[in-house]
Every structure is written in structure tokens, then in C-alpha cells.
């Protein structure tokens, strides 16, 4: 059977599985819709959080990025995992004890202010929406490339599936489908990695195989360094000294951004107890780490394989996958010196090969000659990653609208039933808007993701941390900190992103910090402004100080509720 038949079978089977789970776990109340009834076991919540967190970008693009960046790619590995330590230690248990549904809920009550809630609400919607558009695009690309349907039809299928289980099941349906999606995606990511590790270094564990020796007795990483430097690229395992500051800042922005993303934080409202919130952050990171420690191994295998397959080899002896990706225009070859061989070198004037780094994960099983069903599995995994993240994000958007905006802002007397209907309508509208935006994405979607992390780091993270750890923090401090943090970060990113129309050039970066890393500085500015302003304005009212005392102590936590 060919790859396409296998893809239809495996993808079709996983979709039936997701829909079945969604019907079984449909939501009957707002509490089930927003936080899955607050009764999800920590282990299941850990898996769901992991699937929610690992997007199409983690699954499809990250290993490719690392494989082309070498050491500097570590910023994604550490940045997108280290944030969970912050979440577990500094946020999750306290927000769980607080016991409401959303991040704007916390900001609004802790800072006793409707303005603060509104600022948080707008940030939550903006951050989640930019993210979800990228996911929708990922779904469309995956379908288009592998089922050979048009891109727009691919997105429509994606909308249909997410629509079905998100509208029906709310958080409850999404959580249990994400558990299934985690299993699919992790299986699909590790199986080819194990095969390739066995092939290249004879070790079934890729994490160890990466440091192993190849058939000729040399260490894989030494060989890769030698291959890279021969072609004029930097050594794979060495970090360029000039960009160390930038790597530092990007890593930090991703970590603090992770800990401030509303769709991640809300996961810790779904477990029954404070104790469960702590441990489920641990489970989540454990499940995420399986993929995040396999990815760098895949990256180094793929890079070695690629260089050995193409470098200085005759063009007309290239394997089948080469021409397949060439026809998709993701590999381009231009024989500059007309010798019929491929020169793949760092020097731009002599280099004849350009490779889209996004294809590394997808092409890897083919490069390594793995069976057709493995390739189909990788595709199903990519779809699981994109769909699970999209669903989690859409729920945050819907909750922000029906709960934070409608129930707490515009129409406080709305009935439980009315709110549930509003939530379903909101998520339906959000799915359709995201799908339409994904169909016709503004060219800068990818660029805006940097903004999403930067904003989460420079607005939510400090406001929540100070709300828990600084009893004296008041609304004046928190609001001015958030506003200054957001404005600074947004201005810097727009100024230095030519794709967003900014006039800045890399020479103008402050301390060499690129826009991806500026959220870190924005966060510190927010912290300083909040602290200074709060000490010059009156202390928060006694009942808010009591609230802070209360969330610090685990005992007495109740399941999340909407009662005020």
C-alpha cells in the first residue's frame, strides 16, 4: 500500500477516535464547559496540557529549526520547557486555590478593577487569536500536502472537526480528545526517531543515540561538526559567542511567555485540588519532555543524513523524495557551476541548494527509507498536534467572550443556561473566524507569534506573580505596569520587524536583543514600574489582602466556580 492509502486509513481512524471521545465527554454545564467540571485527574490533565501546548510548530518545525541552527536552536528547547517550572512553582497552585475560570477573572478580582479585567481580556483574546490562526494554517498545509486536496478544503475539514468537538464538549470534550491526541502525536514522533537512531548509531533510544558512535567508529556529533565546518557552516555543537546575549534573552522571553499564556494557565483550573495542580504541571512537563528531548536527536540525525545524501553528489542520482519535495518547491537546486553535482555550502554565492527547514520532520522518514505506514503516522501526528492546540486556544477565546465579557462585564444577570449557549455561539464564531483568517493569513502571522509570547511575558506574568507574592501590590501599580510593559514590547517588535512595516535594522537592536527576546526586558520594566507605582499609591483594600493570604494556603480549596 502507498503512503496515500495509509494516510487515509490512519488519519481517518484517528478522526473517528476524536469524535467518539467528544460525544462521550460532552459538556452539560458552564462548569463542565469552562473547566471540565474541575474533576480531571492530574495524569489526564498532564497529557491534555502537553497536547494543548505542543502545536504544529513544536511538532513539525522545531526539529527542522534546530537542525539548521545547531546550538542556537537550544533556545526553543529550554525556552518552551523551562516555563513549566515557573508555572508549577509560582502560578499553578495559587491560581487553583483562587478557584475561578479564567486569567482575567484573577486579574479583575485581585486588582479589584474592571479596567484591569478589560486589559487582561484584550490581551488574552489577542494572544490566543494570533496563535490559533497559525494552527489553522498548519492544518490546511498538512491536509493539502498529503491528501492532495486544495489548501482551502484542508482548512474546511479542520474547521469541521474542531467545530464539532469544541462546540459540543467545551473544555471537557477538548480535554479528553487531547489525551487521545497526545497518544497519537507522541507515538508518531518517537517511532521514526527510534528507527533512525537504530539505523545511524545502533541505539534504540534517540536521546542516548545522539551521543553515540556511527558505523565507522566516530561519534555522530563529531562527524556532524566536521561535515558542517567543511562546508563552511559553524560547528553544530558550538554557540556563536556574538549571539550569546540574544540566545539568553530569547530563552527567557519564551519561558516567561509560556508561564503567562492564558491557554496554558487555564489548564490548572481543571483539576480538583491544589495538590493536583502542582503534580499535573509535573506530569505535563514530563510528557512534553519526551518530545522535546527526542527532537534535538532527530535534528542531528536528519542534518547528518541530509549532508551525507546530497553534498557533492550528482543531481541525477538523487532519491525519489528529493524530486517530490522539489516539485512542492520546498527544495530548490540551481546548478551554478554546471558540474551536475550538488554543492551545499554556507557561502551564498556558491551554494546551489536551498531547503525549507519545515520539511525536515516530514521528509526524515523518507530520507531514512522507512515504511509507508510510518510516514502516514507522522502526518496523523502533525494533525493531532495542530488540532489539539487550536481547540485549546479557541476555548480561551470563547470563555473570554462569554464569561469575562458577557457575564462579568455586559450582562451579569445572565442565566447559567444562557451563558452556556453564549459560550457555544462564541466558540462557533471563533472557529469560523480563525478558519477564515487561516485561509487568507496576513503574511505576518508567523511574525506575530513573537508578539504573542512577548505580550504574555510582559503583561500577564508579572501581574499574576506580583498578585500572589506581593500583598502590597495594588491596582494602580499592576495596571500601569501592564500598560507600560505591553506598549514597550509592542513598539520594539513593530519597530524592528520589517514584515510588520518597521523601519529598524538589526544594527539598531538594544544590546543586540532581537524582537523575539525583547519580552524579557518588557517583563522587567513591568515589574519595576508596578513596584514603584504601587509604593506611591494607597495599599489594596483589606479584603483583597485577605484574598492573597487565602490563596497562599492550600487547605479549603473548592472546585472552580463562577459564584462571586
Amino acid at each position: 500500500m502507498g503512503v496515500q492509502t495509509w494516510t487515509f486509513i490512519i488519519v481517518g481512524f484517528t478522526f473517528i477516535l476524536y469524535i467518539g471521545v467528544a460525544i462521550w465527554a460532552r459538556a452539560g454545564s458552564t462548569k463542565e464547559f469552562y473547566v471540565a467540571g474541575g474533576g480531571v485527574s492530574p495524569l489526564a490533565n498532564g497529557m491534555a496540557t502537553a497536547a494543548d501546548w505542543m502545536s504544529a510548530a513544536s511538532y513539525l518545525s522545531m526539529a527542522g529549526l534546530i537542525s539548521f541552527m545547531g546550538y542556537a536552536g537550544s533556545q526553543y528547547l529550554m525556552g518552551w520547557t523551562g516555563g513549566y517550572v515557573l508555572l508549577a512553582l509560582l502560578l499553578a497552585p495559587y491560581l487553583r486555590k483562587f478557584g475561578k475560570f479564567t486569567v482575567p477573572d484573577f486579574i479583575g478580582e485581585r486588582y479589584y478593577s474592571r479596567q484591569a479585567r478589560l486589559v487582561a481580556l484584550i490581551c488574552a483574546i489577542f494572544v490566543s487569536f494570533t496563535y490559533v490562526v497559525g494552527q489553522m494554517k498548519g492544518v490546511g498545509v498538512a491536509f493539502a500536502r498529503f491528501l492532495e486536496v486544495p489548501f482551502s478544503l484542508g482548512i474546511l475539514i479542520g474547521i469541521g472537526i474542531v467545530f464539532f468537538y469544541a462546540v459540543l464538549g467545551g473544555m471537557k470534550g477538548i480535554t479528553y480528545t487531547q489525551v487521545a491526541q497526545y497518544c497519537v502525536l507522541i507515538f508518531a514522533f518517537t517511532v521514526p526517531a527510534i528507527f533512525i537512531s537504530l539505523q545511524m548509531v545502533g541505539n534504540p533510544i534517540p536521546q542516548i543515540g545522539m551521543g553515540g558512535t556511527m558505523a565507522d567508529g566516530t561519534y555522530l556529533l563529531d562527524k556532524l561538526n566536521a561535515l558542517s565546518t567543511d562546508l563552511g557552516f559553524g560547528a553544530y555543537t558550538e554557540m556563536g559567542m556574538d549571539n550569546r546575549v540574544n540566545v539568553f534573552f530569547i530563552t527567557a522571553a519564551l519561558m516567561f511567555g509560556t508561564a503567562g499564556l492564558p491557554h496554558v494557565i487555564v489548564r490548572f483550573f481543571t483539576v480538583p485540588k491544589v495538590k493536583d495542580a502542582r503534580i499535573s504541571a509535573g506530569y505535563a512537563l514530563f510528557f512534553i519532555a519526551i518530545l522535546y528531548t527526542t527532537a534535538p536527536a532527530v535534528a542531528s540525525f536528519a542534518r547528518t543524513n541530509l549532508i551525507e545524501t546530497v553534498s557533492e553528489k550528482p543531481y541525477n542520482e538523487m532519491p525519489e523524495w528529493f524530486s517530490k519535495w522539489e516539485s512542492a518547491e520546498l527544495i530548490k537546486f540551481e546548478d551554478k557551476n554546471n558540474d551536475g553535482r550538488i554543492q551545499y555550502v554556507a557561502d551564498k554565492d556558491r551554494n546551489e541548494l536551498s531547503i525549507d527547514r519545515d520539511i525536515m520532520v516530514l521528509a526524515n522518514p523518507e530520507i531514512a527509507n522507512l515504511p509507508a505506514w510510518v510516514i502516514a503516522l507522522v502526518i496523523a501526528g502533525g494533525l493531532a498536534a495542530a488540532l489539539s492546540t487550536a481547540a485549546g486556544l479557541l476555548l480561551v477565546i470563547a470563555t473570554s467572550i462569554s464569561h469575562d465579557l458577557l457575564k462579568n462585564y455586559l450582562k451579569p444577570d445572565i442565566s447559567e443556561k444562557g451563558e452556556l449557549i453564549a459560550a457555544r455561539i462564541a466558540i462557533a464564531v471563533a472557529v469560523i473566524c480563525a478558519g477564515l483568517a487561516g485561509l487568507n493569513p496576513p503574511g505576518f502571522v508567523a511574525q506575530v507569534v513573537a508578539l504573542a509570547f512577548g505580550l504574555a511575558a510582559s503583561s500577564f506574568f508579572p501581574a499574576i506573580i506580583l498578585g500572589i507574592f506581593d500583598k502590597r501590590m495594588n491596582k494602580e501599580g499592576a495596571i500601569s505596569g501592564m500598560i507600560v510593559g505591553i506598549l514597550f514590547t509592542t513598539a520594539y517588535i513593530i519597530y524592528f520587524k520589517p514584515q510588520l512595516g518597521g523601519p529598524g535594522t538589526p544594527e539598531g537592536y538594544w544590546f543586540g536583543i532581537s524582537p523575539e527576546g525583547i519580552g524579557t526586558l518588557g517583563m522587567f520594566i513591568n515589574l519595576i514600574v508596578s513596584l514603584v507605582v504601587s509604593r506611591m499609591t494607597p495599599a489594596p483594600p483589606q479584603e483583597v489582602q485577605n484574598l492573597v493570604e487565602d490563596i497562599r494556603i492550600p487547605r479549603g480549596s473548592k472546585a472552580a466556580s463562577s459564584a462571586h
Partner: protein, 85 residues
Amino acid sequence: MSSEQNAKYWKRNIRYLLSLLAVWFLVSYGCGILFAPQLNTIKIGGFPLGFWFAQQGSIYIFVLLIFLYVYLMNRLDKEFDVDEE
């Protein structure tokens, strides 16, 4: 529970947090980025040590840190009698 006990509980909690976060900082920003060039001169199997911390080791230690935190906090909750029944 008295507010004095609460303050004591919170102080212990902060002490745990600071020590665990110190390790968190050290393995990622320290070993993985700032001291990576020095550590890379040491090799463990095929891995230069700084590179290993950046792409493997820091992630394993992150996971361990959270489980250690859970253990410490569950013990602390019991000691101060603030655990959930």
C-alpha cells in the same frame, strides 16, 4: 491556623522556591548558555557537556525540579496541617 503559623509556612515555601529556582537558572542559563563554551571542552561520550545541558540535561532537570517541589510542598503542607483532606 494562626497568622504567625501562616507566615512561617509562607517563609519556608519561599525558601524552597528560591533554592529550586536557583538550580533552574543554573542548569539552563548557566550551564546551557553562559558557561557553555567552557563546559564544551569536557566531553561525556559523544556529547560536549555544555551542548548536552542545552539540548538534553536542562530539560531532565526541569522535570525533576517539579517533582521535587511537589514532594517538598506535600510534606510542608502536612507539617503545618494545611493539606487538603
